[in-house]
Amino acid sequence: MATQAETQTTRRDFLYVATGAVAAVGVGAVAWPLINQLNPDASTLALATIRFNLDGIEVGQSVTILWRGLPVFVRHRTEEEIETARETPLSELKDPQTDAARVKEGHAEWLVMIANCTHLGCIPVGESGEYDGWFCPCHGSVYDTSGRIRRGPAPTNLVVPPYEFLTDSMIEIG
């Protein structure tokens, strides 16, 4: 009789587990808002989409704009830069990606990229480095004219943010 009572699940066992479960959910429910408050707030998220007019950026010129607090390069590439980027064999790349995949169709002259080095986030210097693209002074990452990583500690190509051409001279980022 006694052994039977031990092996069977009793009301009391159920109450123990149920209490424990409620306590765990309760702790979680209190902890989550305390952690989530660290996430970007509404005012930060409100800047998530921006429009930018490309008129007035000459061939060979770059500008840096801000999107979600991040600097973004907008570069009007020269024919020569586009050619070298296209001719680079994928086998030479650390993070293989064609030049076409990094620009919008029919707008190969415009390169739009988040300006933070994919290593640790410094801003690379334009028109420099061995590949005449970008050179990051922080730890020596070298990018080509398509913003692809060629040498140094950065693991991936400069990030192309989500964007679209609204007209030929107006883009919307985000």
């Binding site: 952690i35 660290l38 996430n39 970007p40 707030d41 930060t44 840096t64 801000l66 979600r68 607090g69 991040l70 600097p71 650390k94 933070n116 994919t118 290593h119 640790l120 986030g121 410094c122 801003i123 690379p124 002074p137 922080c138 730890h139 020596g140 140094g152 500690p153 950065a154 693991p155 991936t156």
Partner: protein, 385 residues
């Protein structure tokens, strides 16, 4: 105060007390600075200048806090290297040692966050680079980074939370220091010959012998401290940090504070992929590993002899390790190009080989010199020599 302490402790044993003093100085000057500082990206830079120019005595108080951080680390490094040489990490002091490593890591975190507060160029870019480290974590990296920054880039939310944490962490450090000292009082001090206390004849009461010796050492330590504060308060900082933060321009060359340089070198020395681990994650693993190695050190060095004085082979590798560590510091301040990247790889390799290969191997092959039978014996012999 009735703490029997080995009678042969040398001046390297005064740095524990010096560190307690340093922590006290940082906490007191920090609380004062917080009364005048404004943690907002529009005002932080100016509020620090306001402290330095307008607040009564602010020039000195701010300098004591800034120089104090450097002096704190100078003392920490001496304290740690003392432990490495005299084998203070060995049984029965493993807990004491591990608590020390925790203090070291917490202190680095605190100092890093403190350096963000003046909101200069180095503050901003240092914060950017270090928070980016977290994006190397597989899968959750990006979200973790955004969570830490409170935005997609380092900005006002980041500054606010770092201020909050910079205020909090020293009190946590103080709590761990209390545990550290408690853990010291259980086995008692190690000593320069590494032979445990055997009888009352080996010890002297802590007070007045070591209270006075510690106080004398504190005064000596305060001399260079005061020199920096009064004559060169900015010499240990970087000129770029007197330019207000600008999220669109990276300084020519980002360098952390000198005391973080060795680990910074380790971080960036890994510029190649290893199997499926890319260079960025690899650097982070190496840096974290270099600190975690200290935690497991008591189990890597199995030699029963504690003190380096009696380990003829160990001494060579130890001093090479010290030189190598200075090399890592030097390289962290150099641009990552040319010969420097190669040298950095060599120094990082030696750092790891020392812990992972040399120490375990030495404990097997080395024949130590004969140990004195007791502390008193070694003290008396020295007196007659």
């Amino acid at each position: 105060m009735d703490f029997p302490t080995p009678k042969n402790l040398n001046y390297f044993w005064t740095f524990g007390a010096i560190l307690v003093m340093c922590l006290g100085i940082q906490i007191i000057t920090g609380i004062v600075l917080a009364m005048h500082y404004t943690p907002n990206i529009a005002m932080a830079f100016d509020s620090v200048e306001h402290i330095r120019r307008d607040v009564n005595g602010g020039r000195i108080i701010q300098a004591v806090h800034a120089v104090g951080a450097s002096m704190f680390f100078a003392a920490l490094y001496i304290h740690i290297f003392r432990g490495l040489y005299f084998g203070s990490y060995k049984a029965p002091r493993e807990i004491l040692w591990i608590l020390g490593v925790i203090i070291f890591i917490l202190t680095m975190a605190t100092a890093f966050m403190g350096y963000i507060l003046p909101w200069g160029q180095m503050s901003f870019w240092g914060a950017t680079v270090i928070t980016n480290i977290f994006s190397a974590v597989p899968i959750v990296g990006e979200s973790l980074q955004v969570l830490l920054r409170g935005g997609f880039a380092v900005g006002n939310p980041t500054l606010n939370r770092f201020f909050s944490l910079h205020y909090l962490l020293p009190f946590i450090i103080a709590a761990v220091v209390a545990l550290h000292i408690w853990a010291l009082h259980v086995p008692g001090n190690n000593n320069p010959i590494g032979v445990e206390v055997k009888s009352k004849r080996d010890t002297v009461p802590f007070h007045p012998y070591y209270t006075m010796k510690d106080m004398f050492a504190m005064v000596v330590f305060l001399i260079p401290f005061a020199w920096f504060v009064f004559f060169a308060p900015d010499i240990l900082g970087h000129p770029d940090n007197y330019i207000q933060a600008n999220s669109q321009v990276t300084p020519e060359h980002i360098v952390p504070e000198w005391y973080l340089l060795p680990f910074y070198t380790i971080l960036r020395a890994i510029d190649f992929n290893v199997l499926f681990i890319d260079s960025k994650l690899g650097g982070v693993i190496a840096m974290a590993g270099s600190m975690l190695l200290l935690v497991v050190l008591p189990w890597l060095d199995r030699s029963p002899v504690r003190s380096g004085n009696f380990r003829p082979l160990f001494r060579w590798f130890y001093w090479l390790f010290v030189i190598n560590f200075i090399g890592l510091t030097y390289l962290g301040a150099q641009p990552a190009e040319g010969i420097y990247t190669l040298l950095a790889k060599i120094c990082v390799a030696y750092y790891f080989i020392y812990f992972l290969v040399i120490l375990p191997l030495l404990s097997r092959i080395e024949t130590p010199k004969p140990l004195p039978t007791s502390i008193s014996e070694s003290v008396l012999k020295k007196a007659h020599a």
